[in-house]
Symmetry: C2
Subunit: 310 residues, 2 copies
């Protein structure tokens, strides 16, 4: 495929078009991934996550600028909620990244969280592969760290940075706790505002209590808007990557992700098959009616459908 | 089953034990649902969702008190993120609901978002069924409205109330937009703080722009903490339910949810089958290695696995 050839040679537009293809799960999507797959596995994939309002975009922006100073090629995948009204990702913070977008060594892609029905994780994973094959040394996935699907996405990264901020209320604190175990590094952002030290202390306490951590995640205080301590954070990210490589943990983690991907791919095909089977037989309507009127129950119907499929 | 008999006769402890059984997806879970299924379909299921910090719990609390004045039996399912460190749901706002918990006409259940791997929606759905069979006139599902799985949960309700608050920043605003289309009624909470009117206006503008709404959702300004306008909100909730029933939309929506549930149940079984098949054959390790070393690609392996399953 000519487009792939071009992309592998560093053509940004070709790269963008290939990403669109895999995002839309087009007919060529599988062929694209099959062809580029041998060129993947080189990039350091960093997940940046945290509650809404934690300042993830600003932090990403500053991190990328630092990576660029080291002359590293960077890909950014911003997984943003989409508006059903505009049909596209709401720009918001993305706009601030405009100067990055002009940098030839940076590739930015915004993704909505809708429109990939059941497939946002897949679309993100395949976009990572393309950026990896494209030659990005680092690929950053930035996503809101709430919701199971969003957490699943960031789990696919080699290094996960959890961004926290002081004073977001009880609700946020509990969300934070729910996804805390996926953080390899914790960044307390807006460290200039009241309560930041307390937030850091709380995180440290929780981490100290945690039993089953392979490696105790460091907690770094940063102020992204003022570019403070971003170098320290990057240092911790690099240290984590080296640690992963030296202890064969990178290989283990990547293999785990490969398995997860595989099971999901098989499931996806089976799901299509189930939907086709039930729709084709045209019996879905009568079955639904009998459930609606409580003549039968969902488990009985499930077993009938399964026996027909097998 | 004796426990079911007791529950159907109004025994709260029996109800709690049955919910635990279906939550844990125990061996008896399917039998329980099969037995109680004919007793379901009577409750008005209300979903209360919105971004973290919107004051959903306080609003639920006040709504329930109003429903209790009408002598209605109420079930509350609070879908809360769980801490991996405490192993349980963080109480937070739940504590404030203590007086409700003492009311014999109210049944409260907190659910974590973890520990039901791939199955929070299922656990919630089955808990709704038990509370419905238990005789609750109204079942409220309160959940954070971010994340695909959380949105899926609330979609199963008859009436969805989206709770908004002014001034939660850009990030929140975009999340809000991402899930806006599932709201049947919008409540702008904390209407006493600055910017509330503006938030209401923004929501109204978005709703006016939206093309494909069966019914234009009303926007109600409330201040839950001061019990302001909760009666107005309840009125809108009741109006929506009557509208749904009178226009056969309730039947349509419930049938759609039945179909979704059925497809998910079939998928769940197939997934178990896939995992068992791949693990049993013991070839998962060698396959993962060949993918890790990029000798092959995930789609090729997927097709091989599929052909073996079929």
């Amino acid at each position: 495929m000519e487009l792939i050839e071009k992309m592998l040679n560093g053509d940004k537009r070709a790269c963008a078009r290939l990403i669109s293809s895999v995002e839309n799960n087009s007919n060529e999507a599988e062929d694209i991934i099959k062809t580029i797959y041998p060129h993947t596995g080189k990039a350091h994939v960093i997940g940046i996550t945290g509650p809404p309002g934690a300042g993830k975009s600003t932090l990403t922006d500053k991190l990328v600028k630092l990576l660029r100073k080291k002359d590293l090629r960077v890909g950014i995948i911003a997984v943003d909620p989409t508006s059903p009204y505009t049909g596209g990702a709401i720009l918001g913070d993305r706009i601030r990244m405009n100067d990055l977008a002009l940098d030839p060594g940076v590739f930015i892609r915004s993704m909505g969280t809708r429109g990939y029905l059941g497939g946002l994780a897949k679309a993100t994973r395949n976009t990572v592969k393309i950026l990896d094959a494209f030659g990005c040394d680092v690929v950053i996935i930035e996503t809101v760290g709430v919701g199971q699907s969003e957490v699943d996405i960031v789990k696919a990264a080699d290094t996960v940075v959890m961004v926290m901020v002081p004073g977001l209320g009880d609700d946020i604190q509990s969300i934070k706790a729910g996804v805390m175990e996926i953080g390899d590094i914790f960044a307390v952002n807006k460290s200039d505002i009241l309560g930041a030290q307390r937030t850091a202390t709380e995180i440290n306490m929780m981490l100290d209590l945690s039993q089953n951590l392979e490696r105790r995640p460091p907690v770094v205080m940063v102020t992204a808007s003022q570019n403070q301590n971003i170098d320290k954070l990057l240092e911790e990210i690099e240290k984590h990557y080296i640690y992963m490589k030296e202890n064969d943990i990178l290989e283990k983690r990547r293999k785990l992700n490969i398995k997860r991907e595989l099971v999901e791919l098989v499931e996806e095909e089976l799901r299509k098959y189930v939907i086709k089977e039930t729709e084709n037989k045209g019996e879905m309507e009568s079955v639904t009616l009998s459930l609606y009127t409580k003549e039968t129950d969902p488990f009985t119907i499930r077993d009938i459908l399964l026996s027909k499929i097998k």
